[in-house]
C-alpha cells in the first residue's frame, strides 16, 4: 500500500484525485496555462514597475539627484555661501551650464552639446556622476571631457577619442577621458525639446576651470543644484532662493518635479504603472473568471460520481474538500508556474528597461504583498467556482443525480418559427437548439472567448494609437521639415537670412517665451508660442484635425492643458511671463487645440511681442526645405553663431519611436504573448468541456448511423457558432478596455487617441480562430475515437 511521508496510507479518495488529474491532464494543462499567464502578467508588470521605481529612488539617493534647481545669468561664486545657509538646504553645487555646437567625425548632421561643469577637484556634491569608463578630467587641462553614455554610444565614442566644439565661433578640440551616467540626464533632452535625441544632443562634463575659461564664467556660475534635508518643504527653500538669485537674473527656482529628465522618466514610469496595473488586473481578473467557469463545468461533468460518493456516506464537506483538492493542485501548479514565469519575465523586462534607460544597476525585488494578492485572487476564484459547482452537485438528491439526466426541455423559440430555421438541415437545427436551450452556459462560453479576444485587442491597439498620433502630429500639425532656434530673440533679419539660403523653400517665424499659466491655484509651467495668423507649416488643429487660425486676441491652449488648468473657451487665464520684463497679464482663452503630443499655449506673435513690450522679435523659424540641400543647410547652420539649435522633425519622430513608444512596445509585446496563451487555454477548455458534456448524445447519434464527420459537425459547429459570436463581442470589450486604459494613462507627454485599426481586430480574431481550429482538431480526434459500446452499456 502506498504511504505518505508521515506513514499514513494514501487515502483512496486522494488516489482518485490524482487519477482524475491524469485523466483530465489536457484540460488541467489549459487551466494551468490560463492561471500561469494571468499571474505571470500580474507579477511581471508589478515587479517591473517596482524595480524601476526602486532603482530610480536608489539611484537618485545614491547619486544625490537635485531636489531644487535654478538657472540664472551670472553670479559670483561667493554667493554660494549665502545659498548654503538657507534653512533646510543640505548640499549645494554651483555650476556653469552652457550650450555649444559639436562636431563628431563621420556624422554630418547638427549636434547640440550641453556642457556641464564639475568641480576641479573631487566629485560633485549634487548630481554625482556614475563613471562607467575612464576617469575624471584633469583640472590643469582644459580640453578633457566626460561624455554622457547615451551620447557616447550613439557615436561610438570611447575615452581617447576626440570631438570638436564651436564656442563663440572658435573651434576647440576636446578629448574624451571618461563615459558616465547621471541621474540628471536619464533622459538626455535638449532644452525646449520634449523628446531625447541621443545622436543630435549630447551632454558632457568638463572641469569648472575649463568651462569657466571657455564661456567667460571664471569664478562665477549660472546654475544651482541643491539637495534638501529630509522633511523640508521645497517651496520654502525656493522662495528664499529666488530672492537671493533675483539680482543675478535668476529664473524661478524649480522643484525636482519640473526637471525635464525626471519629468519624462516619471511620466514613463507612471505610464508603465498604469499599464501594469490595468493589464495585470485585467489579466488576473479574466484568468480568475475563466478559472471559475472552467472549474465549475469540469466538476459538473462529475455529477454522478458525486452522487455515488454521497450515497456511500461521504458528506458534502468531504466531497467539497475533495474537489477543492483537485482544483487546488491545478491552481497551485498554475500559480507556481506563473510565479516563476512572472519573476523571470519581470527580470527580463526590468533588464530591458534598465538597458533602455541606462540605469547603472537594478533593484529587483518581489513584494510579498503582490505575491499574496496573486495567490489569494487565484485561489478565491478557483474555490468559488469549485464550491459553487460542488454545491450544485450535492444539492441534487443522490438518487436523482444518478438517474440519467431527463431529456432536456425543448421549446420552440421565436427564432425556430422563422422560415429560415425551418429550411436549415436537421444538424444545424440541433446546434442552434442546443445553444439556445442553455443560454447561460452558452453565454459563459462566449464571455470566456470574448474576454480572451478582448485582451488581444488591448494588447495590440497601442501601436495603432501611436502611429495615428505620429501621422496627425507630424503629418497634419507640425509639417515643417526643420526648426531653427536662435540663441536669443532676434529681429526679422535673422528670418530673411535663413530664407536666402539655398534649398530653403519656405519659412514661418515664431516667438517663444517661458510662461507660468495660472488659474486660481492651478498652475502650469510651459512656454507660450507666438505665431502669425495664418500658419501653413506649423499648424494648430481642432478636433476634426483642421487647422485653426491664430486669433488676434486671446490665447489658444492645448486641450489637455485646458483640462489641467480647469479652463474652457471664454475663460480668463493669468500669464506670468518668465523672461524679459516678466509681465503678468490676463488673457481670454480663445480656443483649445487638439494636440496628441506635447503641451503648449499659442497666441498671435504681434500680441505676444506687445505684451512683452518688445520689438518685433522672433525666437526661431520653421522651415520647409528641399531635401537635396539638407546637408548643405546643416553645414551652414552650424556656422551661424546666432543659431542655437536646429532639429528636424524626422529626427523627432524617430526619437519618439525609439524612446517612449519603444517603452510601450516592449511592454505590450510581453503582454500580447501572454494574451495568446490565455486565448488558447480558454478556447481549448471550452471545446473539451463541450465534448465531455455531449459525448453521450453524440455516441448515440453515431449508433443511429451518423458519420464521424456529422457528429463532429454538430459539436464543432457549436464551437464555431460560439466563436463567431464571441469575436465581435470581444472586439467591443477590447475597445471599451482600450478606452479605459487611455483614460488612465498619464497624458503629459502624449495622449493616445482611441484608434484601433482593422488589422488589430483582424489579428485578435485570427488568434482566436487559430486557437479554435487547433482545439477543434483535438476534439475531432477524440470524437473519432468515441467508445460507442461503453457509452451505451452504462446508460439506458
Amino acid at each position: 500500500m502506498q504511504r505518505t511521508l508521515h506513514g499514513e496510507p494514501v487515502k483512496t479518495i486522494n488516489r482518485k484525485l490524482f487519477r482524475d488529474l491524469q485523466g483530465t491532464w489536457g484540460q488541467a494543462l489549459a487551466i494551468i496555462m490560463v492561471i500561469a499567464a494571468g499571474t505571470s502578467t500580474f507579477i511581471m508588470s508589478i515587479t517591473t514597475y517596482d524595480a524601476l521605481v526602486n532603482t530610480r529612488d536608489a539611484y537618485y539617493r545614491d547619486y544625490r539627484f537635485e531636489d531644487v534647481f535654478a538657472s540664472l545669468n551670472r553670479a559670483p561664486e561667493s554667493l554660494l555661501e549665502v545659498i548654503q545657509s538657507i534653512d533646510g538646504v543640505d548640499k549645494v553645487e554651483s555650476r556653469v551650464i552652457a550650450s555649444a555646437k559639436l562636431t563628431v567625425e563621420d556624422f554630418s548632421e547638427p549636434i547640440l552639446g550641453q556642457v556641464v561643469s564639475i568641480p576641479d577637484i573631487g566629485e560633485p556634491s549634487v548630481n554625482r556622476l556614475y563613471l562607467l569608463q575612464g576617469r575624471f578630467p584633469d583640472s590643469v587641462r582644459d580640453d578633457e571631457v566626460i561624455l554622457n553614455e547615451v551620447f557616447a554610444n550613439a557615436h561610438q565614442l570611447v575615452p581617447g577619442d576626440s570631438l570638436e566644439m564651436i564656442i563663440k565661433g572658435r573651434l576647440e578640440t576636446l578629448r574624451v577621458v571618461g563615459i558616465a551616467l547621471s541621474p540628471e540626464y536619464i533622459y538626455q533632452v535638449a532644452p525646449g525639446a520634449i523628446m531625447p535625441d541621443f545622436k543630435r544632443f549630447g551632454v558632457m562634463w568638463m572641469s569648472r576651470d575649463a568651462v569657466g575659461k571657455a564661456f567667460d564664467m571664471d569664478n562665477a556660475f549660472n546654475n544651482i543644484a541643491l539637495t534638501l534635508q529630509s522633511g523640508i518643504n521645497a517651496k520654502d527653500v525656493i522662495v528664499e532662493l529666488d530672492l537671493i538669485l533675483e539680482p543675478y537674473g535668476g529664473r524661478d527656482a524649480q522643484e525636482r518635479e519640473w526637471q525635464i529628465s525626471h519629468r519624462i522618466f516619471k511620466s514613463d514610469i507612471d505610464q508603465l504603472e498604469q499599464m501594469a496595473g490595468m493589464f495585470s488586473s485585467i489579466f488576473l481578473g479574466v484568468a480568475a473568471f475563466l478559472l471559475n467557469i472552467v472549474v465549475s463545468r469540469l466538476i459538473n461533468t462529475q455529477r454522478e460520481i458525486i452522487a455515488a460518493l454521497k450515497a456511500f456516506g461521504y458528506s458534502n464537506f468531504d466531497i467539497g474538500l475533495h474537489y477543492l483538492g483537485y482544483v487546488g493542485i491545478i491552481v497551485t501548479i498554475g500559480l507556481m508556474t506563473g510565479l516563476a514565469a512572472g519573476i523571470w519575465l519581470g527580470q527580463a523586462l526590468s533588464g530591458l528597461y534598465m538597458e533602455f534607460y541606462r540605469l547603472p544597476y537594478m533593484e529587483f525585488e518581489l513584494r510579498l504583498s503582490i505575491l499574496t494578492i496573486a495567490v489569494l485572487i487565484t485561489f478565491i476564484a478557483a474555490s468559488v467556482g469549485t464550491l459553487f459547482a460542488v454545491n450544485r452537485a450535492v444539492k441534487l438528491p443522490p438518487a436523482q443525480a444518478m438517474q440519467p439526466e431527463p431529456p432536456a426541455k425543448f421549446r420552440k423559440s421565436m427564432f425556430e418559427k422563422l422560415a429560415l430555421f425551418q429550411s436549415l438541415p436537421q444538424m444545424s437545427r440541433m446546434i442552434i437548439r442546443h445553444l439556445s436551450r442553455k443560454p447561460v452556459k452558452a453565454s459563459l462560453s462566449i464571455a470566456g472567448i470574448a474576454l480572451a479576444c478582448a485582451i488581444l485587442v488591448v494588447g495590440t491597439f497601442f501601436r495603432d494609437a501611436l502611429e495615428f498620433l505620429i501621422d496627425i502630429e507630424f503629418g497634419l500639425a507640425q509639417r515643417e521639415d526643420m526648426t531653427v532656434v536662435f540663441t536669443e530673440p532676434s529681429s526679422r533679419n535673422a528670418y530673411y537670412n535663413l530664407m536666402n539660403m539655398d534649398g530653403v523653400l519656405y519659412g514661418e517665424i515664431f516667438r517663444s517665451v517661458p510662461v507660468r499659466l495660472v488659474n486660481s491655484h492651478k498652475t502650469y509651467l510651459t512656454s507660450i508660442n507666438g505665431f502669425q495668423q495664418e500658419q501653413d507649416l506649423h499648424r494648430q488643429l481642432n478636433t476634426q484635425h483642421q487647422a485653426i487660425k491664430i486669433p488676434e486676441q486671446g490665447i489658444l491652449l492645448t486641450d489637455y492643458l485646458g483640462e489641467i488648468l480647469g479652463v474652457n473657451v471664454g475663460d480668463e487665464i493669468e500669464l506670468e511671463i518668465l523672461e524679459g520684463r516678466r509681465p503678468v497679464e490676463k488673457l481670454r482663452v480663445a480656443g483649445l487645440v487638439n494636440q496628441y503630443f506635447g503641451i503648449g499655449a499659442y497666441m498671435n506673435i504681434n500680441s505676444l511681442n506687445r505684451m512683452m513690450r518688445e520689438d518685433d522679435l522672433i525666437s526661431g523659424v520653421y522651415l520647409k526645405i528641399d531635401s537635396d540641400y539638407e546637408q548643405q543647410i546643416y553645414d551652414e547652420l552650424k556656422d551661424m553663431t546666432r543659431v542655437a539649435n536646429y532639429e528636424s522633425n524626422r529626427h523627432i519622430v524617430q526619437a519618439f519611436n525609439d524612446t517612449s513608444a519603444e517603452m510601450v512596445y516592449i511592454f505590450v509585446g510581453f503582454i500580447f504573448s501572454l494574451a495568446v496563451i490565455i486565448t488558447f487555454g480558454v478556447v481549448y477548455n471550452t471545446a473539451r468541456i463541450a465534448l465531455s458534456e455531449r459525448s453521450r448524445d453524440l455516441a448515440s447519434l453515431r449508433v443511429l448511423g451518423f458519420t464521424r464527420g456529422e457528429i463532429s459537425f454538430i459539436l464543432l459547429g457549436e464551437l464555431v457558432v460560439l466563436t463567431l459570436i464571441a469575436i465581435p463581442v470581444g472586439m467591443l470589450i477590447g475597445r471599451i478596455l482600450s478606452w479605459y486604459m487611455i483614460q488612465e494613462i498619464p497624458k503629459e507627454i502624449f495622449r493616445l487617441p482611441l484608434i484601433i485599426e482593422y488589422s488589430t481586430y483582424a489579428i485578435s480574431a485570427t488568434v482566436v480562430i487559430i486557437a479554435s481550429i487547433l482545439s477543434g482538431l483535438v476534439v475531432r480526434n477524440r470524437l473519432d475515437h468515441l467508445d460507442l459500446i461503453s457509452v451505451l452499456k452504462t446508460r439506458e
Binding site: 487515502k11 483512496t12 479518495i13 488516489r15 482518485k16 487519477r19 482524475d20 491524469q22 485523466g23 454522478e304 460520481i305 452522487a307 455515488a308 460518493l309 454521497k310 450515497a311 456511500f312 456516506g313 461521504y314 458528506s315 458534502n316 468531504d318 438528491p397 443522490p398 438518487a399 436523482q400 444518478m402 426541455k409 461503453s790 452499456k793 452504462t794 446508460r795 439506458e796
Partner: protein
C-alpha cells in the same frame, strides 16, 4: 388507504421471529414537482422490513419502488409520512445524520453500478471502507463475490456482471445492516444476472444482512423471503414465500 390490513401485518410479524423491524414506514408519500406537473411517486406506504430477511420489491417502472428504496436508504426524503430505521427517525434526520446513517449502515447497489472509473476494483471498495467504522478488508469483500483476481482492474476493464459484483462487494464491505439493491440485474443478461443475484443471496445468508432487491422481474421474487408488490405508488400485495429457491436456479 392501507393495502395490507392489520391481520396480515400481525401475521408477518409472527412469522419472522420476535424481532423489532429494521425499517418501519407510516403513510409515506412522495411528490415530485416537475415544472407545473406534480408526480405522485408514493401515495401512502405503511411497511416494515425485518432483520435478516431478503425482500424483493416488485413493480413496473413508475410504480414508485426506487423512490421507496431511496427513502429507506436516506438518499431522499418523503413529502409526508414517517420512516424509521430501528428507533432512528429518518424523516426528520439532519443532512449530516443521514450521511452518517448511510456511511455506517447502508450498502447500495445500483442498476448502473456507479463505480468510479478512475479507481481500480479494490480501490472502489476501499474508498468506502476507509470511512466506515468496522469494515471487512476490501480484498475479503472481493473474494466474497469471487473477483479477488480482478482487484487491480479498472471498471473499463471489467464486464458488466463483474462491475456489478464489484459494486456488491463495495456495498457489503462496510458490513452494512441493510443492503439495498436497485435493479441490480437490470443491465445484465440472465446468466450474469444469476451470478449477481447469487452473490446477493450469499451475503444475505452469510452476513445475515437485511436485504431489499428492487426489480420488475417477477422471477426474482422466487428467491425472496417476502415479495412486496408496488403499483402506482402503493403496496398492492405482500406475499410470503416459504418455498424460496436459490438464485442460481432462477431463470428468465
Amino acid at each position: 388507504m392501507l393495502h395490507f390490513d392489520n391481520s396480515m401485518n400481525d401475521n408477518i410479524h409472527d412469522s419472522t421471529q420476535e424481532t423489532s423491524p429494521v425499517f418501519r414506514t407510516l403513510g409515506l408519500t412522495k411528490i415530485y414537482e416537475m415544472g407545473e406537473v406534480k408526480v405522485h411517486a408514493l401515495r401512502g406506504i405503511d411497511s416494515e422490513l425485518y432483520a435478516g430477511e431478503l425482500v424483493v420489491l416488485l413493480g413496473a417502472s413508475g410504480s414508485g419502488k426506487s423512490t421507496y428504496m431511496n427513502i429507506l436508504g436516506g438518499l431522499d426524503r418523503p413529502s409526508s409520512g414517517e420512516v424509521y430505521y430501528g428507533d432512528q427517525d429518518l424523516t426528520h434526520a439532519t443532512e449530516s445524520e443521514l450521511t452518517e446513517y448511510r456511511r455506517q449502515h447502508v450498502g447500495f447497489v445500483f442498476q448502473f453500478y456507479n463505480l468510479i472509473p478512475s479507481l481500480t476494483a479494490i480501490e472502489n471498495i476501499s474508498i468506502v471502507t476507509e470511512i466506515s467504522e468496522n469494515p471487512m478488508h476490501p480484498q475479503e469483500a472481493l473474494e466474497l463475490v469471487g473477483l479477488a483476481d480482478r482487484m487491480d482492474h479498472f471498471p473499463s476493464e471489467l464486464s458488466g456482471g463483474e462491475q456489478q459484483r464489484v459494486a456488491i462487494a463495495r456495498a457489503i464491505a462496510k458490513k452494512p445492516t441493510v443492503l439495498l439493491c436497485d435493479e441490480p440485474t437490470g443491465a445484465l443478461d440472465s446468466e450474469t444476472g444469476c451470478l449477481v443475484l447469487s452473490a446477493i443471496e450469499q451475503i444475505n445468508k452469510e452476513l445475515n444482512t437485511t436485504t431489499a432487491v428492487i426489480t420488475h422481474n417477477i422471477s426474482i421474487g422466487n428467491m425472496a423471503d417476502r415479495v412486496i408488490h408496488l403499483a402506482d405508488g402503493q403496496i398492492s400485495n405482500v406475499e410470503e414465500n416459504p418455498d424460496k429457491i436459490h438464485a442460481k436456479d432462477i431463470t428468465w
